[in-house]
């Protein structure tokens, strides 16, 4: 019997976090979070002149008595935030067993964080399939087959909701322009968090001699002698890719975290908190 992909006991023990939701008003359905518009909560927001058709119950009669002007009391809207959890299910996420397990644990932690936030959470894996609701953290496990030839982030359209909280998990190991990619993900979002998961040897490969490098997503192969010079060049390119993502995220007001597979999940959670992706619950 194969071992379960995610050890939920360990994940839940490490998942004493929730998403680091911003303090700015959010969009969403009626809920317990203050929304960006006026609503029916008890928290006073502002006045505005009465207009025919307004609910007379909201007229501030005391102010009318003082100023003889009809004014309507506006209250803050209470909303339940929308969360779009974008998962990269391309084959590159399971290039090794270690990466697959690390991906599972990372997704589990973030799914727990989503669940601890009362929100309308959905999982997006591709633009061609309707997003699936995330009701319990265990739902995330169904999406980790990772047999897609392309990452969802490479698709031109993703069914992201307006003013949603967006969490993107990927290795970002595909050709891209970081600014364009991040700005596309951040467009009309309330909040964006990018989590990059890579293997240690993907981030810091070592000289191994001659190797035939085969792309797991079918992008060809390359015969290379992995000597010191090649490794240094690769590391520089990988560093530029990561820095590009980080810089682009800062520009877009998003959070960015880099997770190395094999890191204990508690440390991963703390790292995500340090990067502003999670908040202690």
């Amino acid at each position: 019997v194969p071992a379960p992909l995610i050890d939920w006991r360990v994940v839940r023990a490490a998942a004493a976090f929730r998403l680091a939701i911003p303090r700015t008003p959010l969009g969403g359905l009626v809920g317990e979070r203050l929304g960006s518009g006026s609503g029916s909560s008890l928290e006073f927001q502002d006045y505005r002149p009465y207009a025919p058709g307004d609910d007379l119950r909201h007229v501030d009669w005391a102010a009318y008595a003082r100023s003889e002007l009809l004014a309507i009391r506006l209250f803050r809207e209470e909303v339940a935030p929308r969360i779009d959890l974008v998962l990269d299910i391309s084959r590159s996420m399971v290039v090794t067993e270690q990466k697959l397990r690390a991906y599972g644990e990372l997704s589990g932690v973030l799914a727990c964080a989503c669940a601890s936030t009362v929100a309308d959470s959905r999982i997006i894996t591709t633009g061609s399939v309707e997003p699936q609701p995330l009701r319990v953290p265990e739902d995330v496990e169904r999406f980790l087959l990772c047999d897609a030839p392309l990452s969802a982030l490479e698709e031109t359209h993703l069914p992201l909701r307006r003013r949603s909280l967006r969490v993107v998990i990927s290795d970002f190991l595909f050709p891209h322009d970081a600014d364009l990619l991040v700005s596309r993900l951040a467009r009309d979002s309330a909040w964006l968090a990018l989590v990059q998961l890579t293997l240690r040897e993907e981030a810091e490969p070592a000289a191994e001699g001659s190797r035939r490098l085969v792309d797991v997503e079918g992008r060809g192969h390359l015969d290379l002698v992995l000597d010191d010079a090649v490794i240094q060049a690769y590391r520089a390119r990988f560093s530029r890719l990561r820095m590009g993502l980080s810089t682009a995220a800062r520009r877009a007001g998003a959070s960015f975290a880099h997770v190395v597979a094999g890191t204990p999940i508690r440390e991963v959670a703390r790292g995500l908190a340090a990067a502003g992706v999670l908040d202690p619950a």
Partner: protein, 601 residues
């Protein structure tokens, strides 16, 4: 360390080859990556060609070099100890029957020969290589070449001398060839060395003994008188008369017993036998040599030639009747095998198996243009033809010789270009050739019928026909003689003969020919399971029966030769197994243990 095949060291070139492969060959084990594009802008080949890198000392390199080294040493025949030089003794054994003669103590020359060779083998030690040759008309190698002493001893135990008298020269030549420059030659015989054999030790293990033996034997049958007989020639090879008991038995039953006093020298004896007995066994009581005390004699069956005289009445017919009357084994018969006719009838169809002899003017198809002529010689005769054996035609007048067409007959006697006697083979439906003999002569005018050549010619014709009748040429043979048997038809089953312990298959054919096998006895020729002929094969060698010349002596000496480089197999050296283990383990570890690790990497 010694190398049996130093050229095998060339295989060591595999070691630098392996190093070079490891140094220059780029292996590309597959590795799956997620972001190939990050690698793609890297320079694939360093500028200025390949970069000399330090040789990676990997376990694979070490194991491969180790395997190549071990296999190269195995190929080179590496061994810790020398292969050794073994003395090589070549023994020529006199295989003549006299070696089996036993003395009063029951010991034979063969026993002394075996003991002498065994003593020599013991003296030389177990590493000695031995070749044993038995003499004879066709010398044979009993053991060897160059076998171990143990194998030679078993060959000596099996050896039983039984050959007729022969020269040792052929055996000596074979033994010397086998000895070469590395072997020592020893000759074992019961006779003294005629001349000193250079470089050889001649050991005579004989002992002079008195012996009585059957030197010759013949069984005859007189059908007209209705009785048979056995004529024996006995040889007493001693200085005194010897008393012996002679017994004759047939089919397990004693036919005759007689006490004999055999005088010294050669004596004859004739014993009457009733006709129709199967093969009889004639035996003398035991003495020194048992081999010559017994003969088996088959009853001869006379081959009667049926003749028919169809010549016209006249001088010729009368002369033919007289001549045939003087020939034995001939009978007048209507279904004759030999028919004398007028020559003009020779072109008529004839029954299979019937020979025709024609006298007079040959048939027209055979004739050439010209008139008959008379000749008084000189005559040219085909002397080798059995028809003309003993024929001279001296003083013969040959009248009426008609010219014959070229190639009509094969000439046996001619006068100038005129054929006087010719023979023609005619194919019959049975595809065998029944010859027709033509005498191109006018019998009414010739004096041939009164010449001494006439009965000789007729007798020769009859004997030629007799020789072609089915059956054996003779009924009793000596060992080593050629046995010739005419079957007269195609065999109906597989042919083989059985003679005592010897049983051999014979090639299928109308004519059988083989050597009478030793040790002799009753020889049966079988066609399938049916016994077709029973013949007698006997020793009958008075030279071997005479044991008075046997001596005990040693002449010459064993020369110390270079010895034989005895190459034992590679398995005899422990280094072979060590190298094999190293090589095998290196290959197994490299392929079975390291290869999966490389692939997984």
């Amino acid at each position: 360390m010694i190398f049996a095949t130093p050229w095998g060291l060339l295989a060591l070139l595999a070691v630098p080859a392996i190093v070079a492969i490891h140094l220059f060959r780029r292996r590309f084990p597959v590795r799956a990556v997620a972001g190939l594009f990050l690698w793609q802008l890297t320079r694939l080949t360093p500028e200025g060609g390949a970069k000399v890198a330090r040789l990676p000392i990997t376990p694979s390199l070490i194991l491969e070099c180790l395997a190549a080294l071990a296999l190269a040493l195995i190929l080179a025949g590496a061994r810790l100890s020398s292969s050794g030089i073994s003395p090589h003794l070549v023994v020529l054994l006199d295989d003549s029957a006299s070696m089996a003669a036993v003395n009063g103590r029951g010991e034979s020359a063969r026993d002394r020969a075996v003991r002498r060779v065994t003593t020599e083998l013991d003296r030389r030690g177990p590493s000695t290589r031995v070749t044993i040759v038995a003499s004879g008309e066709r010398p044979a190698v009993l053991a060897g070449p160059a076998v171990f002493a143990a194998d030679a001893r078993s060959a000596l135990d099996r050896w039983q001398p039984e050959a007729p008298h022969h020269s040792l020269a052929l055996g000596l030549r074979l033994a010397r060839e086998l000895a070469g420059r590395t072997g020592t030659l020893m000759v074992i015989s019961d006779l003294p060395a005629g001349a000193p054999e250079e470089g050889a030790l001649w050991v005579s293990v004989g002992e002079p003994l008195a012996n009585v033996g059957i030197a010759a034997a013949e069984r005859s049958l007189s059908p007209t008188e209705g009785r048979g007989s056995v004529a024996l020639t006995l040889g007493n090879y001693s200085d005194a008369a010897s008393h012996r008991r002679l017994t004759v038995s047939a089919g397990g039953k004693n036919v005759l017993s007689r006490e004999l006093d055999v005088p010294p020298g050669v004596s004859s004896l004739s014993l009457p036998l009733p006709p129709g007995l199967p093969a009889v066994r004639v035996a003398l009581s035991a003495d020194a040599l048992a081999r010559d005390n017994e003969v088996v004699l088959a009853e001869p069956r006379p081959r009667i030639v049926g003749v028919q005289n169809r010549l016209r009445d006249g001088r010729g017919r009368q002369a033919l009747v007289k001549a045939l009357g003087a020939v034995s084994g001939v009978s007048e018969a209507d279904s004759a095998q030999l028919v004398f006719v007028e020559a003009g009838e020779l072109d008529r169809p004839a029954a299979p198996g019937v020979w025709h002899v024609g006298f007079g003017r040959p048939p027209a198809p055979w004739l050439a243009a010209g008139e008959p002529r008379d000749f008084a010689g000189p005559f040219v005769l085909e002397k080798r033809h059995p028809l003309l054996l003993g024929v001279t035609l001296g003083g013969v007048v040959w009248p009426g010789a008609t010219p014959l067409a070229a190639a009509a007959v094969r000439p046996l006697a001619s006068a100038g270009d005129q054929v006087l006697i010719g023979i023609q083979g005619r194919a019959t439906p049975a595809t065998r050739l029944d010859p027709a003999i033509v005498f191109n002569v006018d019998l009414a005018r010739t004096n041939l019928i009164r010449a001494p050549d006439w009965p000789i010619l007729i007798s020769n014709i009859v004997e030629m026909r007799r020789q072609n009748l089915p059956g054996p040429e003779r009924w009793n043979y000596r060992t080593g003689e050629w046995v010739r048997v005419r079957l007269g038809r195609d065999p109906k089953g597989p042919l083989h003969f059985r003679c005592g312990p010897v049983e051999r298959a014979l090639p299928a054919g109308r004519d059988l020919e083989f050597v009478a096998p030793a040790p002799g006895g009753l020889l049966q020729i079988l066609e399938g399971n049916e016994v077709r002929f029973e013949l007698g094969v006997n020793f009958l060698d008075d030279t071997e029966s005479n044991l008075r010349q046997q001596v005990t002596s040693e002449t010459g000496q064993l020369t110390e030769a270079a010895g034989l480089r005895a190459e034992s197999g590679p398995a005899s050296d422990p280094l072979f197994w060590v190298l094999l283990a190293i090589g095998g383990l290196s290959i197994v570890i490299n392929w079975c243990l390291l290869a999966p690790a490389r692939h997984s990497a």
